[in-house]
């Protein structure tokens, strides 16, 4: 029999599953609002349960063996959940994000007999399972459940671009699943177990082994595809931009960062003892991370379709998270975990603003919306605030995560990554602030390069009151800013060390205090340039425009939306990972 706190572990996964199975079984009998209520309540329950688990896990990870199959003679027979403090909090954050998203989407999907809620609850259960599991194949199962639910949700609108985007998303992420399963097969054949700890022990015994490196290459490739790291990032802009906005909130807020969360766990826990992998990781993660941060930021600045802009900004921030991971230190990984939560809150709020614009103004195009947002100024304030937070306003969780990552990078002498992260964040902030200025203040009559970017007419149901949509959005921002910094500072060294299975460090270092301000200033300058360029002297404008155009067109052409291109880039990405591993 399992003692009290550990016995809670299956519940956050089982409860949403039971609710959604019951909802499907009685789908045509349910009254209209019941799915909304049930879904919100179960997401809240998951959040509370995960919070309780996280608090209880502070003294050491909680372990639960399904079916009562505890390890015998050092061999793991069943599937286990193992929850450390950090994983518990990340899961609690995900539950909360879902609850707020359900409120945001209240009445949005009432024609579908709760099918939307069924898919979302499955999605939630899979994410929690992904955070909790300590079994490689179980990780894959939750990865796939997440993917399948996500595929169906993306195409919900059934618009032409939505469908093509959903097909690209499905194909690329299915390939990710196959790669991951191949990697799992390799590591299982070599180590004879599927349990994280069991594999880690066997890897530590084995020494340098090409099979272990190969397995890591495949699994890391799969998780990076989920995490939208260059050159696997292409699917994200297609999928996020077209998914219904409540779904985009979850995609950007939780799904993408969960891929990197998985990568952090796998590389620290499972492959932590492989010298070859650990030597290759800094170069690999920091290199790809810098590139991703810059490319995502630059592309975000060039978009006029708001959701596509936010999608590229998610790519940029995923790159920043990856650089934090690449520091391979407790502060870097801890910073990345805080960043996951902070970024999820802020990005979720931004996608909600986009949803509000879609619902009330029936457009998502930055240029078409110019000045139309004046009537809903509270949304404008939320958007501007979120934009400032995104580029590093020193306030709240996202900033704390940023400073921790910067501290770790500075300590290890990765100056380039530091600069790339700051520039990436500033670019995404500039893009969001420019859009906020244009939409809510009516600035910027002269569109620049962004005018050539793809856009499309879209509409979402306008039957919901503004406050119902704005409430969850503000709640997310308030959460980001409201969590006391002292709490994190106190708990993080312990939680991050437990997450990485390393001895506890005393304190974590933070980056220089002026960096966030530099980032904010750069973002404001960028946004100001975008909005006021026809008031600026030509001497300043011309050179910028000249340097922008050619690379911009090339980048836009790369994001062709052709699945064939994406498959080729996927192969290139895996080859890159393999090459770095081989050289380590």
């Amino acid at each position: 029999m399992t003692a009290f706190p550990a016995a809670l572990l299956p519940l956050p996964v089982a409860i949403p599953l039971v609710i959604c199975a019951a909802m499907l079984a009685t789908a045509h009998l349910l009254p209209a609002r019941l799915p909304d209520i049930l879904a919100t309540l179960s997401a809240l329950t998951v959040a509370v349960l995960c919070g309780v688990i996280a608090v209880r896990a502070a003294d050491g990870p909680l372990v639960y063996w399904f079916g009562g199959w505890e390890p015998r003679d050092g061999l793991h027979l069943g599937i286990g959940f193992s929850v450390d403090e950090a994983s518990g909090w990340v899961a609690a954050f995900i539950g909360l994000l879902y609850a707020l998203t359900f409120v945001f989407a209240w009445g949005f999907f009432d024609r579908t007999h709760g099918h939307f809620h069924i898919l979302m609850l499955l999605f939630l259960a899979a994410m929690v399972g992904f955070c909790f599991t300590r079994d490689m194949f179980n990780l894959f199962v939750w990865f796939e459940v997440m993917s399948v639910a996500a595929f169906a949700l993306t195409a919900y609108h059934l618009a032409e671009s939505g469908l093509a985007g959903a097909i690209n998303f499905t194909v690329v992420n299915s390939l990710a699943g196959f790669l991951m399963l191949g990697g799992i097969g390799l590591i299982y054949a070599q180590t004879g177990t599927l349990d994280f700890e069991g594999i880690a022990a066997a890897v530590a015994r084995g020494g340098r082994d090409p099979v272990v490196a190969g397995a890591f290459c495949l699994v890391a490739g799969a998780l990076m595809i989920k995490g939208a790291i260059v050159p696997f990032q292409f699917w994200l802009a297609d999928a996020h931009a077209v998914a219904p906005s409540p779904v985009s909130v979850i995609f950007s807020g939780a799904m993408v960062s969960l891929g990197l969360f998985g990568l952090a766990k796998v590389s620290a826990v499972v492959f932590g003892a492989s010298d070859q992998v650990q030597h290759a990781l800094p170069a690999l993660l920091i290199g790809l991370g810098c590139f991703t941060a810059l490319l995502g930021g630059w592309m975000a600045l060039l978009q006029r379709h708001l959701k596509r802009m936010l999608a590229f900004s998610t790519i940029s921030h995923a790159g920043i998270m990856l650089t934090g991971l690449g520091a391979l230190s407790v502060d870097g990984t801890g910073g990345m975990l805080v960043y996951v939560v902070g970024h999820g809150l802020v990005k979720g709020a931004l996608f909600m603003v986009a949803g509000i614009l879609l619902a009330t103004q029936a457009s998502i195009d930055e240029i078409a919306l110019r000045g139309l947002g004046r009537g809903i100024w509270p949304a404008g304030i939320a958007m501007a605030l979120a934009g400032l937070l995104l580029c590093g306003l020193p306030l709240g969780l996202l900033d704390q995560g940023t400073r921790l990552i910067q501290g770790a990078l500075a300590q290890q002498g990765h100056g380039i990554a530091l600069v790339a992260g700051v520039i990436g964040a500033a670019l995404t902030g500039a893009a969001v602030l420019r859009a906020a200025g244009r939409i809510f203040l009516g600035l910027g009559p002269d569109p620049g390069d962004e005018a050539g970017a793809p856009s499309e007419d879209e509409r979402e149901k306008a039957n919901r009151p503004l406050w119902l949509m704005l409430g969850p959005c503000c709640a997310l921002l308030a959460l980001d800013m409201g969590v006391p910094a002292g709490l994190i500072e106190h708990a993080l060294p312990r939680a991050a060390s437990a997450f990485m299975h390393r001895p506890v460090v005393d304190a974590v270092s933070e980056g220089p205090g002026w960096l966030p301000w530099a980032s904010v200033a750069a973002a404001l300058a960028g946004a100001g340039y975008g909005l006021l360029r026809n008031h600026l002297p030509a001497l300043l404008v011309l050179p910028v425009r000249a340097t922008q155009s050619a690379p911009t067109r090339a980048l836009e052409a790369l994001h062709s939306g052709l699945i064939g291109d994406y498959a080729a880039w996927l192969a290139v990405g895996v080859a890159m990972i393999a090459a770095v591993l081989a050289m380590a």
């Binding site: 079984a25 009562g68 190969g214 895996v574 393999a578």
Partner: protein, 258 residues
Amino acid sequence: MSPRVRIALLALAALVLLPGAAEVIAGLPPFGSTIAQYGERINAITPEARHVANMVSAINFDLRGLDTLGEEFMLLAAITGTVVLLRGRRGEGNTGHAMRRPGRAVIPRSEAVILACRIAGPLTALFGLYVVLHATVTPGGGFQGGVILASGTLLIYLGEGYAGWRQAIHSHWLDALEGGGALLFALCGLVPMLTGAAFMQNILPLGTFRDLFSGGLMLVENLGVALAVTGGFTQLFLEFMEETRAADEAEEPGEESA
């Protein structure tokens, strides 16, 4: 990117990956030489611990039952998604009755086909039931049997025609079957917890080894999977067939599915 550039990129990646793949393959245990310790151990202890003969079923429903739970819900997600995506366009009101495509003549079926289907249908169903029930002793189980059962319902389509098929099979029942099966499986996990055991721990009598009724809780889980898969796959076939029938009228522009 032109196809030629694409293939060049692929070839380049293959060139880089080939030596790595060769090294990995060389590092693997040679084919057929040995199996992993985990599988060896399961083969050794499970017949005695769970009284079942089929190790794969034992793993699927007991040792690694959580994976199967996830898998079942993955199926549920896919089928719910399919239903939403296909119905979103047709409108849900149309699913209750058979739609005939205008302009396509109804071809009368020959007596032989109808007779063959009436014989083959029950036989297929019987075989499906056999596969479902013998999960713990012979190859097969809820998933395989469920797919066979669902294919059996397709024979109704062949034999009785589309309208007959639609009359025999109602979408709501399939939803209930699918959701109910998945619910049964999930409850198999939760109910043992009420008695103080672990999630999905066996609390039923195990039965005798090599008997039809061996494995305890596994049988209930197997049943849940069979229900969910039968309902799910039939639903899938139904929705797909509906698609070939849908009248190809132009839809009003700007129609929203949400």
